[in-house]
Symmetry: C2
Subunit: 442 residues, 2 copies
């Protein structure tokens, strides 16, 4: 709707009307409109509007996109825009820019730059990397009325106003009070009397997945970050955590498909990046595949006598792979989300043994029919029994491997579908030929 | 730390001290402690503490767990506890209880029951199913001071106090103002003058995945829900959305492993549920597997002449499956998150064609070496070429299938790792034997 109007106002240079229109538009919607602009037009657009507005809009963009826009603007303007941003967003964008530009910008930003430099030192995927330094902190002996007056003066923005942190003279975090509580408390009350002294807080180096888990567990909107001396150094807000949750899910899904996490969107990943994130796994899996080839070679004689056996290879090892893939998928996700714990290993094993037997009986029966139909009664028995054995084994491998990996403090997601499938090829073939040789008395 | 103290206070029936201890404990932590209690102890515990406290604790539990606790308590108590809960939580728990109990409870709850009955009518995974009816709504001509006084009177709880909705006499939503803005505005100002008239809102029947996307896009804490006449009927809060995001990711991951989504945690899923969510897929995949068997049977002669060919079957079809699995994983996730769109199909296809060729050349070279090493120069050429062809094809199948499924308005996640692997088995075998027959002049 808005887009054609906005575009024509922009083209005709009617700045005041354009700015009025922007006021009524959510920056997230504006970003979608800006996608239709050429890079040159985007450049002109951001030079036209106030830096404060640019900051708001750029904060809504994907990081590589925002970085691309800023790369076209003069460094002085970029520095002013970055100053207007939340520190956590500014840091993320700085990390996307070429190193020498980032260094120059930090210089240009003076004091604000010093603060950002400190934030830049944190690992990206930790609490320190997620936090912003814009928070409201007050001393314990302030009254509710005084606090409200203080808020009126500093007029904090949405991201940091809902919780007010209470700190000692040397900035140690001692309590928290919500804006809601302030509003419903008599004005002369001292904050120290009503604040919560048990504050859920995190150290600077906590992994972001753990941060997301705390947000979910405690239903938080904001989480304060403290340094080793328990001094308040920043806050993490829930909107960052939603993004983290999505990124982590994408990573887990990629790992399940044996793709090394891209660390960027698919759209912005180049051909060589994609190649490099995949080729290692494929080559490694070939090595596992060689075991399967070895098994077939070892049973060459059996196979040459009863070539019918070859017909059922894809059926048997395929079903084994699929079964293992299912149980590994269930296990890895349950372990990652904390749905099951390492300690419940024995119970889970028992459960999956039962599920595996039920699946094995069903698929074994199907295999028996198919085998008998194609190769006669004896082949039917061989295929049926092999199917049963493979399915039960595959199910257990799918359960056990993620548990072992977790136990060894490795990522259970390494038990990806391709890995399980490839392992089950080898185990399946060995099972198959062993059973076949027994029954065919070879 | 706390647990042994809490437990002994409880065992010794020192109620007052127990209640004091509970005050300093976050309910989410208390839930973990309660896991160690026997069901009988849990029952006694919840009968001991005030219903309001029970409500807070039960809201922190997993749904099946909370339902299990409530099932042991007298219906009268349960009704009182449910009245103390947020309506969205109460509804979710009611949906877990046996139908006849739920009906009785709604009767016992009288007015509150009527309200819950309306909420129960919404589909669970829509905006209506997520929303709570506890929100603060005021008329346009109220002053800021009046609003703050009103808030002091109704003392809303955390979940619904951060945004105040402005409605007309017939409850139509016309604006919104944040508590933060109220606090920093002169008291005599009328709310109508400062409220935001553009409110991001959703209809009652929006899919929860879409709701989560809006929260992420606009960085929301709360999202109002309106009926067809634009009347405010409820609000969705960000904490529900974090849970939704996690559930949806779990579903997507399960689908990628060919497991029909469980709709419950793995821990609380029984053996038969797990069996039923998996057996359908496994049987369906057997049908696809039969094509592979058919291909081998068709090339029986070729195979009997050159049995060496059999050695490489797992290697070739395995690598094909793994490659297809990788590209399908990347595609499905990118489509689900909106990272790539249907319209960019052509560009994505081109990109993956290039990636596939690079991978094909790498793996083809590896295959050539392995083949030559094991079966001589000619076999080396056959394996190398087949590997190249299979890898390129698999990569494209992995890209195309999710796109076609999305185009047909089906869930792209159907292109699971097991399905892709199984399809690639058949295509791989056909490619292999065709190339082999050509080179061996059979």
């Amino acid at each position: 709707m808005v887009q054609p109007v906005l575009y024509s106002l922009f083209r005709e240079g009617r700045v005041q009307q354009l700015l009025d229109l922007l006021k009524g538009l959510h920056p997230a919607d504006l970003v979608e409109t800006l996608h239709e602009f050429s890079p040159e037009e985007q450049e002109r657009f951001f030079l036209l509007i106030p830096n404060e507005q640019s900051a708001i809009i750029l904060q809504e963009m994907d990081l590589p996109e925002a970085a691309a826009v800023l790369a076209r603007l003069p460094l002085g303007t970029v520095a002013e825009i970055l100053k207007e941003m939340y520190s956590d967003e500014a840091v993320d964008i700085l990390a996307e820019l070429p190193k020498e530009n980032a260094a120059k910008l930090l210089m240009l930003m003076k004091e604000a730059g010093e603060e950002l430099k400190e934030l830049l030192a944190y690992e990206e995927d930790t609490s320190g990397g997620l936090m912003a330094t814009e928070f409201v902190a007050i001393p314990e002996n302030m009254t509710v009325g005084g606090t409200l007056a203080y808020l009126r003066k500093v007029a904090p923005s949405a991201e940091n106003a809902y919780y007010i942190y209470v700190v000692t003279r040397d900035k140690k975090l001692v309590g928290v009070i919500s804006l809601r509580e302030l509003v419903v408390t008599p004005l002369e009350t001292r904050v120290g009397q009503i604040m919560h002294r048990k504050v859920v807080k995190v150290p600077e180096d906590l992994d972001q997945e753990e941060v997301a888990r705390l947000f979910e567990k405690y239903g938080l909107l904001v989480l304060p970050v403290v340094d080793k001396e328990d001094r308040l150094v920043g806050i993490i807000t829930v909107d960052d955590v939603i993004t983290v949750a999505k990124e982590e899910a994408t990573e887990d899904i990629h790992k399940a498909g044996s793709v090394t996490p891209l660390r960027t969107s698919y759209k912005s990943a180049g051909v060589l990046t994609l190649y490099s994130k995949r080729v290692g796994w494929l080559l490694a899996l070939i090595l596992v595949n060689l075991i399967s080839s070895g098994v077939i070679a070892a049973f060459e004689e059996t196979l040459s006598v009863a070539l019918t056996l070859a017909f059922f290879i894809p059926l048997l090892i395929g079903t084994g792979g699929n079964t293992g893939c299912q149980s590994a998928t269930l296990m890895v996700r349950a372990l990652v989300t904390g749905d099951i714990k390492l300690t419940s290993w024995f119970r889970t094993f028992g459960k999956e043994l039962l599920v595996g037997m039920l699946l094995g009986l069903t698929l074994g029966t199907a295999g028996w029919f198919l085998g008998a139909f194609r190769g006669g009664a004896l082949i039917g028995v061989i295929i049926g029994l092999t199917m049963l054995a493979i399915v039960v084994t595959a199910n257990l491998v799918g359960v056990i491997l993620p548990f072992i990996l977790t136990r060894l403090r490795l990522d259970p997601a390494v038990a990806s579908s391709p890995l399980i499938t490839t392992i089950m090829d080898a185990i399946g073939l060995l099972t198959y030929f062993t059973i076949a040789r027994m029954f065919l008395a070879l």
